[in-house]
């Protein structure tokens, strides 16, 4: 009986941990999707494209989630849904009307004012609904700046509405241009998910952040110690002033690296 109770407690604790891991993954994936506007690409040495700084960070956080199997299952599920959604978007696009060029130009101006902090423009942008999506995305694509937090918030809300509208194949105000932008975002999201799957399926493990520190100050002490021996041979005795000097140098770097490895990342 006692054993059964113990197993039940273990199972409860484990399920809580797993649930937390799932929440983390979902939260991170949502962030990746919402902020993929900032996922501008830059070349890497092997010619592949990777996400920008912010994205790379979020992706790395995802890689650190402890329960890899649960995370992989979630990401694969998200990947499946994303593919279905992409197919639906492609299908719907053909039946939608072309965008009104004048209205699109006007909304671009409104988006720019909203970006500069004009509160009325923010409201107007929100009222424009789906039609505002290309204008907001253009802030990032053409003007080469990240949308302001307020504008990102509008984009997020409009996209949520668009999700619902597409699910029920409705959504007055959707046009071909908006749909094309949503397709591009979905493709970008799919690429992120693909990276997540590759990462989670890999054999790499997320090592604790203190391991590099221990590795460096452990193995690095070997050549350092050889130098201390050289000093003993050179002077034919242990000179305390020399030992104090070299150990002081060791401590200087130990503290410098230690501060940035164990304190700085958690300070704001």
């Amino acid at each position: 009986m006692k054993n059964k109770l113990f197993l039940l407690i273990i199972a409860a604790v484990f399920s809580t941990l797993t649930a937390e891991a799932e929440t983390d993954v979902l939260g991170l994936m949502l962030n990746l999707h919402r902020f993929d506007i900032s996922c501008k690409m830059f070349d890497t040495e092997n010619g592949k494209k990777v996400c920008g700084v912010r994205h790379a960070d979020e992706f790395s956080e995802l890689m650190k989630v402890e329960d890899k199997a649960a995370a992989l299952a979630i990401v694969e599920d998200l990947q499946k849904k994303s593919k279905e959604r992409l197919a639906k978007l492609e299908e719907m696009k053909g039946s939608l009307p072309e965008a009104d060029a004048d209205e699109a130009a006007r909304l671009s101006e409104v988006a720019l004012r909203a970006q500069q902090g004009d509160e009325k423009a923010v409201e107007e942008l929100f009222k424009a609904g789906y039609a505002a999506i290309p204008a907001i995305l253009d802030i990032g694509n053409e003007r080469e700046v990240l949308p302001a937090p307020e504008v990102q918030k509008i984009l997020s809300e409009i996209e949520t509405l668009a999700d619902a509208a597409i699910m029920y194949e409705g959504g007055n105000g959707l046009n071909r241009d908006v749909m094309q932008r949503l397709i591009e975002r979905e493709e970008s999201y799919g690429a992120i998910l693909k990276r997540a799957v590759i990462g989670l399926e890999g054999t790499r493990r997320a090592f604790p952040y203190w391991l590099p520190f221990v590795y460096m100050y452990g193995l690095g002490f070997i050549p350092f110690f050889a130098g201390i021996i050289a000093s003993v041979i050179y002077y034919r005795r242990i000179r305390l002033d020399v030992i104090a000097l070299v150990m002081g140098s060791y401590l200087f770097y130990f503290c410098l690296h230690g501060y940035f490895q164990f304190i700085a990342p958690w300070s704001n």
Partner: protein, 628 residues
């Protein structure tokens, strides 16, 4: 589009003229080949320390490390902040060995420690590396500056114009003043590099709205000092540790001919120790900050939304500098970029000339000639090395595979060279054959590892993913594989071969200071502590000539002066201008003669030639210090 203001142009042009004039001025201090290669072995530690930093920071450093800092955050500093591991070994092992054994080059050390065959192989390795590297530095500088400095509309013409101008400016002052010019110009360039980097950061922080804004916009994941353990093929902790921290740092500080020549340019072993201590504890962290902080600023700026998120990491340095610097300051930054190049290239040229003259021309082609003859050859070789560097630029530009080949060659020879030197220094049993096979076998194993990384390097990979195939896989962690293979070969061959006679290698391995001092001085070292004495120089016919050209002129002192110095006849006395800011430029090493009580107590007597070599004037006040 980056537009260069007129004032920026003026600053860059004035900087070039200033460097050429300033460097050439020191030609008047070069009278012997020792002056040309080792600056007369008379400089103070602080001058050499700054010039070392200027050499450490290459033409590509600002661009490369800013890009790395932008992508990886504070951990980008790892590449420059792991030299502490080698500090005691340099201070108490290596600097006394090279200084007291009077070697002129690393290949020469390998001949003394092992044999001429090993020296020849290392000479070939080092010349290929050095000459190729001059071309690489010129090429990378052209790549960086070509999009910014528009002198000609045609991009190719503009590229070669920039490269040629910088090469000519460097060649002019190196040919005139050799190592003395290199050290003095690098002192200025080193300071300029640090000031420029810190200026960009300060202006950038102000642009962002204060340090708090900067700090809060750097993501938490970017604030770690060390990279993630093994996550990335291109920048993981273990890879950088073995490649940069162990193999590259060992070769740079212990075997880079340019750095060795700096250590041999200081006035004493104690000053050599102060140099490396100051460089590693003070200047390296400052230089790292100056070089990397632009990338950190770029990250904060992108996160705050003031910089386009799609700026390529390779362009982040120029974009951030252009954004935060007013006209005039940007010109200074461009001058700093060229300073980074010139201060590396001048060292490489001088080092190439030293190896060619000391390890090829003197022993094999024209032995037994006068010092003036070798000085002339050194000047010609400097010009030729620069010309070869310039010729290599279009080759690198058009044939990418040759550029890559140099990178592969460097990666191949670095771990075996590091292992061979460490074993040579630490293990008396390490034999000549073992050294030869460590270098050759280690390089061969490295080459095979680069062809089949998935089989040979993978067991050492620490779980780093394999990215890229032949010659590209395990780019960093392959250094560990190379170290293990070279070490294995070295130990096995040593155990089955005969070591060199202990007497033949005295002072070339870890040794006591008495053995080393005797090697340098010829007699027992005098360790009795004396004072620094202020004296007036005087030329005298009582002092016999001889030894001036070898940097050890005879001097005559009074009995009381010798007593204050705690010096005996035959001791090495360093005589220096009292003005500290010369940093030893006007000074020389001398050997004390038997004292005479009939002499003026406050005077130090030397030959007119010694006076001329040191740059002293009759009656000038100097300090004298007994070294050993």
């Amino acid at each position: 589009m980056i537009h260069i203001n007129t004032i920026d142009w003026v600053i860059v042009i004035v900087y070039f003229i200033l460097m050429m004039g300033f460097g050439s001025y020191y030609g008047k201090f070069v009278k012997t080949s020792k002056d040309f290669f080792f600056g007369g072995q008379r400089f103070a530690w602080w001058i050499i320390a700054f010039s070392c930093v200027a050499t450490l920071v290459g033409s590509y450093s600002f661009v490369k490390y800013s890009a790395n800092a932008y992508s990886n955050g504070f951990s980008s500093s790892m590449s420059y902040l792991n030299d502490w591991m080698w500090l005691p070994l340099l201070m108490f092992g290596w600097i006394p060995i090279i200084y007291y054994s009077k070697i002129k080059s690393i290949p020469e050390y390998f001949e003394k420690r092992f044999d001429s065959r090993t020296r020849l192989m290392l000479t070939v390795f080092m010349l290929l590396y050095l000459i190729g590297y001059i071309g690489i530095n010129l090429y990378t500088m052209g790549v960086v500056l070509n999009p910014i400095l528009h002198v000609f509309a045609d991009s190719d013409v503009n590229f070669y114009f920039i490269v040629t101008v910088i090469a000519v400016v460097s060649a002019v002052y190196i040919t005139a003043g050799g190592q003395t010019s290199v050290i003095m110009t690098d002192l200025l360039q080193g300071v300029l590099l640090l000031v420029a980097g810190i200026a960009i950061f300060t202006l950038g922080v102000a642009y962002l709205g204060g340090f708090g804004e900067f700090w809060s916009n750097v993501p938490a994941g970017h604030k770690f000092a060390l990279a993630r353990y093994n996550d990335s093929a291109s920048f993981s902790f273990v890879g950088v540790f073995w490649q940069d921290g162990i193999a590259n740092s060992a070769v740079f500080w212990f075997m880079n001919q340019g750095i060795i020549m700096r250590f041999l340019s200081v006035r004493s072993v104690a000053d050599g120790r102060k140099t490396i201590l100051f460089v590693i504890l003070i200047l390296c962290p400052i230089a790292t900050f100056a070089i990397d902080s632009t990338g950190w600023l770029g990250t904060a700026m992108v996160n705050k939304g003031v910089l386009a998120p799609d700026v390529s990491s390779q362009d982040i340095f120029i974009h951030v500098a252009y954004l935060v610097c007013r006209p005039g300051i940007f010109g200074l930054i461009l001058a700093a970029l060229t300073a980074a190049l010139m201060s590396t290239v001048d060292t490489l040229i001088n080092a190439s000339a030293a190896i060619w003259v000391n390890d090829v021309w003197q022993p094999y082609v024209k032995p037994g000639k006068s010092d003036g003859y070798y000085l002339g050859v050194a000047r010609w070789v400097s010009v030729i090395a620069m010309l070869v560097g310039i010729v290599l630029v279009p080759v690198y530009k058009s044939v990418g595979s040759i550029y890559q080949a140099h990178g592969i060659f460097t990666a191949t020879i670095t771990p075996p060279m590091a292992v061979a030197l460490m074993m040579a220094m630490m293990w008396k049993r390490y034999s000549s054959k073992a050294a030869f096979w460590t270098l050759l076998g280690g390089a061969l194993m490295m080459f095979l590892g680069m062809i089949w990384p998935q089989y040979l390097i993978q067991p050492f990979s620490h779980g780093i993913p394999l990215s890229g195939g032949m010659f590209k896989g395990y780019k960093y962690i392959r250094a560990l594989y190379g170290v293990v293979c070279s070490l294995g070969i070295g130990v096995i061959v040593t155990l089955i071969t005969r070591p060199k006679d202990a007497a033949e290698i005295a002072g070339l391995t870890f040794s006591t200071q008495s053995v080393l001092m005797k090697l340098f001085k010829g007699t027992e070292g005098n360790l009795k502590k004396g004072s620094i004495v202020h004296l007036k120089v005087s030329s005298s016919e009582l002092v016999p000539s001889g030894g001036e050209e070898e940097g050890m002129a005879l001097v005559l002192l009074s009995g009381p002066a010798m007593k204050k110095l705690a010096a005996l006849a035959g001791d090495v006395v360093y005589v220096c201008d009292t003005r500290w800011w010369y940093g030893g430029l006007r000074s020389l090493h001398t050997r004390a003669m038997a004292p005479s009580d009939e002499l003026n107590e406050d005077a130090i007597y030397m030959t007119p030639r010694a006076l001329e070599l040191a740059g002293f004037k009759e009656g000038q006040e100097v300090t004298a210090e007994k070294l050993l």
